[in-house]
Structures are given as C-alpha cells and as structure tokens.
C-alpha cells in the first residue's frame, strides 16, 4: 500500500488518559490496538522509554509454535498461532506469516518417549503433530546429517506443521500503525519512573516529561518487569536472563523448515532473505547486560555444524542479545497485579513473540472488563501461593 503519509507519528503525551500502556513492544502495542479497536475505554497512550521494538520484540528469532506441554497453556498458544493467519488482513500490513513447519530433533529413545508424551498432550488440545523417523527427516531436510557421525545422532523428530515464522519488524509496524490509526498516542522517549497509588488504586504515573494521570495502567515492559516492581515496592517471580542469537550471510535457499534440537539448545531457520538465524540458549547467569559472547557463539555454531556439516564455509555476520524475564515454571504472568487498575502482561521469557496476538486480545479484554478471561485464568500471580504453578516444559 504505497502512501505519501508517514506510517505513524510519535506524540508528546497529554496530561491525562483513560488507559496508559507501559512499553511499546509487541505486547503493549497489541493491547493498545485491541483496546482501541474492540472496547470503549476512552483515550489510550503507549509510553516507551526508548523506541518501538527496542526490547525482545525487535530482537527475537520469530519462531511461532504451539507445541508446548501444559494443559493450562496449550489452548492459549493454539489460539495465538491461529490468530496470526488473519492478522495481516486485519492490520492491513503484510506480516510475512510463513507456517513452514517446525522439526524438533530427538537424540535418544528417552527423548523420543518424552516427545511422544508431549505429542499426545498437544493432539488432545487439537494441535497437529507427527512423529518422524530419521529417514523421513532426511527427506525433508537433505542437508541434515542423520548418520552416526554426530556425537548424539538423530534418533527421530517431532513435526509441528503449523509452526513457522512471522517477520517481527513487520508485526511491530503492523500493530503500531493500526493502533495509531485507531487513535492511540504512541509516545517514545517517555520513561515511567514511578506510580501514583492511593487506597490500593492506581491514579497515574510519573515520567521524565511530567506526571500523567490515568485510572488504568497496563505493564508490558518485557524483561524489565522487576524495575516496575521496585517502583511499586513489590517483587515479581522472575529472573532476567539474556538470550543471544546470530545470523549468517545470505545463501541460496536450502532449508525449508525451522529445525531445532531441544536437547542441545540450538535451532535454525533460513529466512525469506536467505540468511540463517541461529540460536539460542539463555545465558548461564542472570544479567541485564545485552552484549554477546564468544563462548555462546562458538558453542552454538559447533553444535549446529555437527548436524549441518555443509555450513562450514558460512560466515556469521551479526549477533545480538535481548533480555528475557523468566519464571520458574516457564509460564507468563498476566492479569491482576494486586493494585486496582494496574494490570500485568510480563514474564514471557523467550516465548512471548508467538503469544502476541492472543496476549493483545486477552490483555485488552481484562483491562476493559476487569474480569480475568478464561484463557489466561492460569497465568495469575496467585498460582504461586495456591500450589497451581503451571507444569510447562522448559523449551
């Protein structure tokens, strides 16, 4: 859609809004868009201290999938995966949704048994899943070494045909533009530094450009959630850990699927442009520093080369890292914060990109109605106090 108009303009915030969303990542933008489009809540602003997509939303590896484990989360991931299909049309922006299929390799009989167990839970939730033998995998990924050469040979795989990728920058601009069209003010360079809370109810926020009043405030700050907690004098059940990933130079197309080894913590896909995205494991310690390290790069590359020996000539051209706020049960925190009017959408670790469409929908529903929607019922902070932690897998 060629246009002579800028796709959106950053605004200076006004003194008062009905809803303030903190963080112009995908989750904040999606919540604001859904609120403006589907609910009557009045004036909405998204406050962002850096720029649109500064956090995980502009740094992730674009993988979308629903092959998780817990019955509490599977329906949510399934719906989110399905929502991507209609989103380009809805946002009037091509998100380059490509459900090319995800192959997760197993390296032993034990792992295959676990994958079969996972597959059963996923099928029961209505998610399409197949198990593959090494020969079938070889047919789909001819460049993969399924012989005995790697220290841990390929014993089989799980195939998730509806998994794939979405261009994350396209998703960011799609949501930002659509929110802006619906009247949302997107204000960059505005850092929330404190909250006004009276009688257990939020009244507004303090920022570097002055105080802004609002009866409802939604926290979607990605890996930075514990800084918000400190402003409120509370703690959240998260630890911030960086994740590093990298890309190679552009190559002729040779890899049709997203291929992963959950056991060895590597995954790779060839983008539409032709470069390979290589990832990714959380760093071995808590940190708020997003530099990249030789150790992570060399370990990831060594593992991937064992299975794709033909890539020995390929050069890594870029690496980067982003912060992930991780819970002990690998499930997010959404819904009430314990303070009236203040809602949370945090703790998405390294699985928040795929979840964006459903998060936007349900965060908006919760903010507008004050009732926790069924699909996010299990994501509350209360689960840590009533022995309802989610039994999710860590991949």
């Amino acid at each position: 859609m060629p246009t002579s108009q800028p796709v959106l303009r950053y605004k200076q915030p006004e003194k008062r809004y009905d809803v303030i969303v903190i963080g112009a990542g995908l989750h904040g933008l999606a919540a604001a868009y859904n609120l403006a489009r589907y609910h009557r809540v009045g004036r909405i602003a998204v406050l962002e201290r850096r720029y649109i997509g500064f956090g995980g939303s502009g740094r992730n590896t674009e993988m979308i999938r629903a092959n998780k484990r817990a019955h509490e989360t599977l329906p949510f991931y399934k719906e989110s995966l399905e929502m991507w299909d209609g989103l380009s049309a809805e946002l009037e922006w091509n998100l380059m949704v490509q459900k090319k299929g995800l192959i997760a390799l197993a390296h032993s009989d034990g792992e295959l048994a676990v994958m079969r167990m996972l597959s059963d839970s996923q099928r029961r939730a209505g998610i399409k899943i197949d198990m593959l033998g090494p020969e079938e995998v070889k047919k789909m990924v001819p460049s993969l070494d399924v012989s005995d050469k790697p220290a841990l040979p390929v014993a089989g795989a799980q195939f998730h045909p509806e998994g794939g990728t979405v261009h994350h920058d396209a998703a960011l601009w799609g949501y930002a533009k659509a929110a802006s069209r619906c009247g949302v003010d997107i204000c960059a360079g505005v850092e929330v530094t404190g909250f006004y809370v009276e009688g257990g109810k939020v009244n507004g926020v303090r920022t570097n450009v002055g105080n802004i009043a609002a009866g409802k405030v939604h926290v979607a700050v990605g890996g930075y959630s514990s800084e918000i907690a400190r402003m409120l004098g509370v703690k959240y059940p998260v630890v911030t850990i960086p994740m590093q990933v990298m890309t190679t130079e552009v190559m002729a197309p040779f890899l049709d699927y997203y291929v992963a080894s959950p056991r060895l913590h590597w995954y790779t896909q060839q983008t539409l442009k032709g470069d390979l995205i290589l990832g990714g494991q959380l760093d071995p310690w808590q940190s708020w520093n997003s530099s990249t390290t030789w150790q992570e790069c060399s370990e990831r590359v060594a593992f991937i080369l064992e299975y794709f020996p033909d890539l020995a000539h390929a050069r890594v051209v870029r690496s980067w890292s982003g912060l992930c706020d991780c819970t002990g049960d690998s499930a997010p925190v959404m819904g009430p914060s314990g303070i009236d009017g203040l809602s949370l959408d945090i703790a998405w670790g390294y699985y928040g990109f795929k979840s964006t469409p459903a998060c936007g929908k349900y965060a908006a529903e919760y903010i507008a109605t004050g009732k926790v929607p069924e699909k996010i019922r299990h994501f509350g902070l209360d689960r840590f106090y009533n022995r309802q932690r989610v039994r999710e897998i860590i991949i």
């Binding site: 930075y224 514990s226 800084e227 907690a229 400190r230 703690k235 959240y236 059940p237 998260v238 630890v239 911030t240 071995p284 310690w285 808590q286 940190s287 708020w288 520093n289 530099s291 390290t293 150790q295 706020d325 002990g328 840590f384 106090y385």
Partner: protein
C-alpha cells in the same frame, strides 16, 4: 569473557567454570506463614544493579562463594 570471579581457593577464574546460584535471599523465620515462605521461594528482587549472589565452583574447588556483582555492567565489587 564478560568478567572474572576471584575464588579464595583457586584465584581469578572464568565464570564458565562456575554454576550461578542466584541472588542471596533471607529465609523467613521457621514459624513464618505459608505466604512468607512462598514469597521467599518464588519472588526475586532481580536487581538491575549491584546484588549479592551465590556461585558454585563446579570445575574448581567445589565450594559455594558469595559474590557482589553489578548485573548491568558485570563489574565485580570487592570489599
């Protein structure tokens, strides 16, 4: 190497020789209620700045150390 850890037994070593043990927390009194214990178990200060934390020297002397580190800059603060 993002930083080095000064082990009193082994000297300045790569952090990759260690297992990160998380921030130092203060346990509630034995008689504390369940909420206090849940807070202790599941919540974290998750400091963006200076914190005291545990490291285990897996590939060295196999002792637990307490280190003061700036989690933003990776600077180790020595007393």
């Amino acid at each position: 190497m993002p930083f080095l850890i000064d082990c009193p037994n082994c000297g300045r070593r790569s952090p990759y020789e260690f297992k990160f043990g998380g921030e130092c927390k203060r346990a509630p009194d034995p008689g504390a209620d369940v909420k206090a214990w849940c807070d202790y178990l599941y919540l974290y200060e998750n400091m963006s700045g200076v914190q005291d934390e545990w490291w285990y020297h897996t590939m060295g002397c196999r002792s637990w150390l307490k280190i003061r580190r700036n989690t933003v800059t990776h600077e180790i603060i020595e007393e």
